[in-house]
Amino acid sequence: MFYPQLNSHVAGTLRFPLDDVVHALRLFRIWMALGWNDILARYRRSVLGPLWLTISMAVTIAAMGPLYGSIFNIDLESFLPHLSLGLIAWGFISAQLIEFGEIFQHSAHYLRNMKLPLSLFILRVQYRQLIILAHNLAIIPVLFLILGRPVNMTLLLVIPGLILITINFFFIGLIVSFFCTRFRDMQPVLTSLMNLFFFVTPIVWHPDQLSGQRRLIAELNPLAVYVDLIRAPVIGQAPPVNEWCFALGSAVVLMVMSVYLLKRSGHRLVYWL
């Protein structure tokens, strides 16, 4: 199979990570086609197709909302937007993480056949998850209409938030996918970690419900920051400055780590498959 010409990759130099990412970005038509095919493949032969994404999320929200609302004794008008946006943002974040863990094994038949930038497969996962996110977000206008809830201009902050999260998760994707390909028992660890984090991240509950030191659970949890950067603007609150700073800082740190990883082990990855 032919691939658009890659400059001969010199292993172990800084050019390798740079070439890899730039090349992957240029091949956007490939990862967009792969990502979209992934969605279609999952819903092949089903009548409603990708609409099932929207439906199953709506069902989850409709079932969990009244239940947890009454457990916590919060009025549904403020709890439902918090819960549904939390679930949607969490789905976006956790599904990316879990899929990063197995992406190279799933793409082995491409990787063993031709030279392709490794980042291309990270972008494939991200594009797929962005499509799913878009399907899920379609619930929100309907929900807000039912609740008669107004939206304000802070909604626009969701755009820089999403961009920042996508950049962060691109680098996280490189790190997690390398790690899980090299160490095969990391995938189940990752999956159970995600299950745990679902409960310690303020999705079903609200950080205000915790008092004193316990509040730290919400504040020191990096995933909570990412969730909040998506959720808060839509609810109508600007995310606090420290959350923006954290996300910017983590992007830089993760970038340095993943560049190092690509430089060190990028050319070895195919041997691990």
């Binding site: 199979m1 691939y3 095919n37 056949n113 031709m114 160490f183 660890v189 050319h267 195919v270």
Partner: protein
């Protein structure tokens, strides 16, 4: 005018690390990093030498047959030429666009229909929508799949997968074509057709490297024969 193409390997070594299931575990690495006892094989990871000191120059217009027993390193060498495996030491320099037909699914997604696979593969080849549309008809015709082109590839026989993959890969004249044992699957009639197409393609001055067991085929369609034994080039002759 086509750009000059060439393949050069200098003292290339390929070693495969063999990870036992326990060696692959993170616990083990963590323990040894933390100063735990050094277990056998920690210092000397088990490795298989797949290619040993390969020196090879292939020039434009050469049709190379790789002969050798199973496990002699034919496929590994093809993967090095495809840019998949980077040698642990030595240098590989490849000029030209590479097309490879290496594994049994030949880069196809079994869930997609033949037509969707054509689109996908052409996308990987860097073709845009109009070029794809122009090429699709001739691919469908050459592959002789008829209405099967609308069926998922998983319903195809291995011969049909091969026909489709071959038709796609040779629809655009590649600079360098790498093939692995492909002829054995096709039927007689398609084999002749494919050989004819290959001939016209190589006459247009490309490079062909194919791994095969079929000595007859090698002599018929290639002008250089390389014999491999245990990851070493044993014999290299032009015919």
């Amino acid at each position: 005018m086509k750009q000059h193409m060439n393949i050069t390997l200098r003292q290339a070594h390929i070693r495969f690390p063999i990870y036992e299931s326990d060696d692959r575990s993170f616990k083990r690495t963590l323990l040894s990093a933390a100063g735990g006892r050094i277990l056998k094989g920690d210092k000397h990871r088990v490795e298989i030498e797949a290619l040993n000191n390969i020196n090879l120059i292939i020039e434009q217009g050469e049709k190379v047959a790789l002969l050798g027993h199973n496990g002699s390193g034919k496929t590994t060498l093809l993967r090095v030429l495809a840019g998949v495996y980077t040698p642990v030491s030595g240098a590989v320099d490849i000029t030209g666009r590479v097309t490879s037909l290496l594994d049994s699914m030949l880069g196809m997604d079994p869930e997609l229909t033949g037509l969707e696979n054509i689109r996908m593969r052409l996308l990987f080849m860097g073709k845009n929508k109009t070029e794809t549309a122009a090429l699709t008809d001739s691919i469908v015709e050459f592959s002789e799949l008829g209405d099967f082109i609308y069926m998922p590839v998983r319903t195809y026989s291995s011969g049909m997968v091969l026909r489709l993959a071959f038709a796609i890969s040779t629809s655009v004249t590649p600079d360098i074509l790498l093939m692995d044992e492909w002829m054995s699957v096709g039927d007689e009639q398609f084999r002749d057709k494919a050989e004819a197409r290959l001939k016209s393609y190589v006459d247009a001055a490309g490079i062909l490297v194919m791994a095969t067991h079929d000595e007859q085929l090698a002599r018929r369609s290639c002008n250089r024969i390389i014999r491999m034994v245990h990851g070493v080039i044993e014999e290299d002759c032009r015919v």
